[in-house]
Symmetry: C2
Subunit: 402 residues, 2 copies
C-alpha cells in the first residue's frame, strides 16, 4: 500500500532544496543545500519512527526493525547530493522510493522477518569531492575513512570538516544484509526499447583524472603559430583523441566535463588549462584498455604543444555484475508490474557499484525522457516513477521475508 | 637630456598599480586599478606643469605648449590599461617614455615650434570592453562616442558608467598633429634578428568574435558518443580548424583565448561554451580571407555536433601601413642610436592603428625577451628601454620643429 500522493509531494519538496528558477537544483555534496536536504530527510525518518543511524562518512540510515531486530537490514536508497544544475530525480528518487516503501510497510502494519532500511549515501556524484560514490566506497571498505575525510574540494576545504560543520559526522556502523537501488536510467536505452522497467545487470567501470596542462601565456597577435605553447590547443587535440579512443574501444564513452582556461582573455594565448577526463566501459578488458590509453593520450597532446602535464587519478570504479539470483529477483518483481522489461547495464555510477562488494545487490531502472540527466531537463513520467517504487516494494518485501 | 633614473622609477611605480605577487598586474580598462593609474599619471603631468585634457571617451592628454601654442600637438603615448596578469611594459612604456621626453624638453628649457603632448588612450586592450583600441577609435571618428560608451562588460556594466564613476568622462577635444608610439615588440622578431630598434611599417588586421555554442548538458556515463550535443567537442574541433586556417593563410594567426565551459562538472557533457575568436593577418587579402572563413568554420563545427551558434563581431581593425615619410623619420632617428635596426609590421594592435587615420603616424619597437607579452614574464632590458626613449625623443623633436 503505497501513498502515491505523499511520495510525489516528497519528491517535489526535496527537489525544491537548492533550486533556482530555470537552473534546476544544485546540492553539491556537503554544501549547505546538501545539509538542508539531509535535515529534511531526518525529519521524514523521525515522523515514520525509524531508528536513525549516521556513520563516519555521513551515510544516513533510517531503520524499520523486523521480527529479528535491526541487524543486517534489507536496505534501499541512493543519494541526496546532485551535480550542478541537476534534475530532481537523480538520487532523490531512490531515497524517496525506499522511504515510501518503508512508510507503506509501517502504516499497513505488515510484519517482516528482517529489518528494512532506507539509506542516503554521502557524495555519490563526486562533483565537489572525488572520488564519486564516496559514502558507499567507505562503507564497503574499499576506501579508508581517513582518506575520504581528507578529500579536498577546489577551495581546499576538506570533506571531513564539511561533514562536521553540517553535523553529519557520525559514529554508527550499519551493515546492510542486501541492497536494492531504484534509479532513473539517465540514458536512452529503456525509452529506445519501449521498456518501462530496467533490470540492471551491472555497472560499467568509471575512471576519472584531474589534469593540468601548462604552456606559456603570450600575445595572440605577435606569437607565431609554430612558437606557441597553447594549453588550450593541447586540450582541444586531447578532446579529439579521446573521442577517437571511445570510437576504437567498443561501447565506451569519454568526456571532458570541466575545462578551465587561463588567463581567459580574448587576446592572450592560454597558458594553462585545468580539466577533467571521464572514461567508461562495461567489459573489463575494454575498461582496462581505456585506463591504459588515457595517460598516453594525455602525454601525446602535451608533447605536441610543448606543455607540462600534471595528472592525478581521481576515481577508479571497476565494472561490476550483480549476482544472478538478485537480478532474477528484480526481473520477477518487474514482471509483476509490466511485461515491458529490459535487462541492461548502467552507464552511470551508483552506490550499488560498491554495496555489491558488501552484500547481495541489484538495481531497478525507470526510463528517462530523451535519455537526459545531469541537466534541468531530466524527467520521468509519474506513472513510471510509481511503477518503479512498486517493483522496489516487491523486491524489498521478498528479501525481508527470506 | 633624459632623466633615466626617474623614467625607470616611474615605470616601476606604475607597474605596482594592480600588481599581485607572482601574478603580474591586472588593470582592466576602467576598473579601480585603471582609475588609480590614471590619477597617478595626472599627478605626474601636473608636476610637470602640463595642460591636462580629457575627452569624451576618457583619453587623457598632457600638453606642453610650443611657440605656436597648444593646437595639433605632436603626440606620443599609448595606454594604461592591461590584460589579466600582464607585464609592466605593454602600454605603460609608451606613456612613460613620452612623459620622460616632455620632462627632458621642459627641464632643459628647449623651445619647440609646435606643442608636444603625452597621451593615454582608453581601453586599448579590449579585454573587458570590446572593441580594443576604443579610445583611439573614437578619437579617429571611426567609432561613434555613444556606441563606445554603451559597450558592456560581462557583468553588464557600461563603459560610460564606469568612466563617470572614475571621474574621467571629459569634454575636451584634442586633435594630434602627428603621432609616434613607442612600444615593446611583444613578439620574437627583433630578438631573433638581433635588432635593438624596430621601425614599425604597419599593423596587421585584427578581427574578433564573441561566440556561444549551445548543445545539451547530459550524463557523461549514460549518453552514447553518437547522441551527444557536446558544446566542448564543438569548440575543440573549431580550435583545430582555426589552426588549419592559420596554416593555410600566409603569416596569419588564430587564437581561442577565452573559453568558458558549462556547467563544468566532471561527469556532465558540456551543454554550453562561451568563447572568443581572434584572427590576424597583415596582407589585406589574407585578412579578408580570415574574416570570410571564420564564420563558416564556426558554423561547420556547430553543425558537426548539432549545436546552436551565436556569434557577434566584437572588433575589426583593418591592416594599416604607416606613411613612408614617417617610417623614414623613425628609421633615421633609430640609426642615430644603433645600426641594429629592423623594419617590421606589428603583430599586436596599437592606438597608432587608428591615430593613423587622423594624422601622420608611426611606431618604434624595442625587443621583448623571448617574444613574451600578455604574461607576467614580459621583459625588456633597461638599456633597450632607454634606447627606445631616446629614439622617440629624436622623433618628437624633429616633428615639433617642422
Ligand atoms: N547516478 C549518477 O549520476 N552518479 C554519478 C556518478 C557518475 O556516474 O558520474
Ligand atoms: N598592444 C597590445 O597588446 N594591444 C592589445 C590589442 C591586441 O593586439 O590584442
Amino acid at each position: 500500500v503505497l501513498d502515491e500522493g505523499r511520495f510525489l509531494a516528497d519528491l517535489e519538496e526535496l527537489g525544491g532544496i537548492g533550486a533556482a528558477p530555470g537552473e534546476g537544483r544544485t546540492r553539491l555534496a556537503l554544501s549547505d543545500e546538501d545539509g538542508e536536504a539531509r535535515r529534511w530527510l531526518v525529519r521524514r525518518m523521525e515522523e515514520l519512527g525509524l531508528e536513525i543511524r549516521v556513520d563516519g562518512i555521513g551515510n544516513l540510515f533510517g531503520i524499520l526493525p523486523g521480527e529479528e531486530g535491526t541487524e543486517a537490514p534489507v536496505t534501499a536508497g541512493s543519494h541526496l547530493d546532485t551535480v550542478i544544475r541537476a534534475g530532481a530525480l537523480d538520487g532523490a528518487y531512490g531515497v524517496l522510493g525506499a522511504l515510501a516503501v518503508l512508510r507503506g510497510v509501517r502504516e499497513s502494519g505488515t510484519r517482516l522477518r528482517r529489518a528494512l532500511a532506507v539509506a542516503a549515501f554521502t557524495n555519490e556524484e563526486g562533483v565537489r569531492f572525488q572520488p564519486d560514490m564516496m559514502g558507499s566506497l567507505v562503507l564497503s571498505g574499499r576506501l579508508p575513512l581517513e582518506e575520504a575525510l581528507a578529500a579536498r574540494d577546489r577551495e581546499g576545504l576538506r570533506a571531513g570538516e564539511e561533514l562536521e560543520r553540517l553535523g553529519f559526522r557520525g559514529t554508527d556502523r550499519v551493515t546492510p544484509g542486501a541492497y536494492l537501488e531504484l534509479h532513473i536510467e539517465q540514458g536512452p536505452r529503456l525509452e529506445d526499447a519501449g521498456a518501462r522497467i530496467g533490470v540492471v545487470e551491472g555497472i560499467q567501470g568509471i575512471a576519472w583524472w584531474g589534469c593540468t596542462y601548462r604552456g606559456q601565456a603570450n600575445h595572440a597577435g605577435t606569437t607565431p603559430m609554430d612558437r606557441r605553447r597553447d594549453a588550450f590547443a593541447g586540450v582541444a587535440d586531447l578532446s579529439r583523441s579521446l573521442r577517437e579512443l571511445a570510437a576504437r574501444v567498443p561501447s565506451s564513452v569519454a568526456t571532458l566535463g570541466r575545462v578551465e582556461v587561463r588567463p581567459g582573455a580574448i587576446n592572450v594565448v592560454p597558458g594553462r588549462v585545468d580539466f577533467t577526463v571521464d572514461v567508461r566501459a562495461e567489459a573489463p578488458e575494454s575498461f582496462g584498455r581505456l585506463k591504459e590509453e588515457v595517460p598516453r593520450l594525455l602525454r601525446e597532446a602535451a608533447g605536441r604543444h610543448a606543455l607540462e602535464l600534471e595528472a592525478e587519478a581521481l576515481a577508479d570504479a571497476p565494472p561490476v555484475r550483480f549476482p544472478r539470483e538478485m537480478t532474477d529477483l528484480v526481473d520477477s518483481c518487474a514482471r509483476g508490474e509490466t511485461d515491458r522489461v529490459l535487462r541492461l547495464a548502467s552507464g552511470a555510477g551508483h552506490d550499488a557499484q560498491f554495496l555489491h562488494f558488501l552484500c547481495p545487490t541489484a538495481m531497478i531502472f525507470v526510463p528517462s525522457r530523451g535519455g537526459l540527466s545531469h541537466c534541468p531537463e531530466e524527467h520521468t513520467e509519474a506513472a513510471d516513477l510509481l511503477r518503479g517504487v512498486r517493483v522496489l516494494a516487491r523486491g524489498l518485501i521478498a528479501l525481508a521475508q527470506r
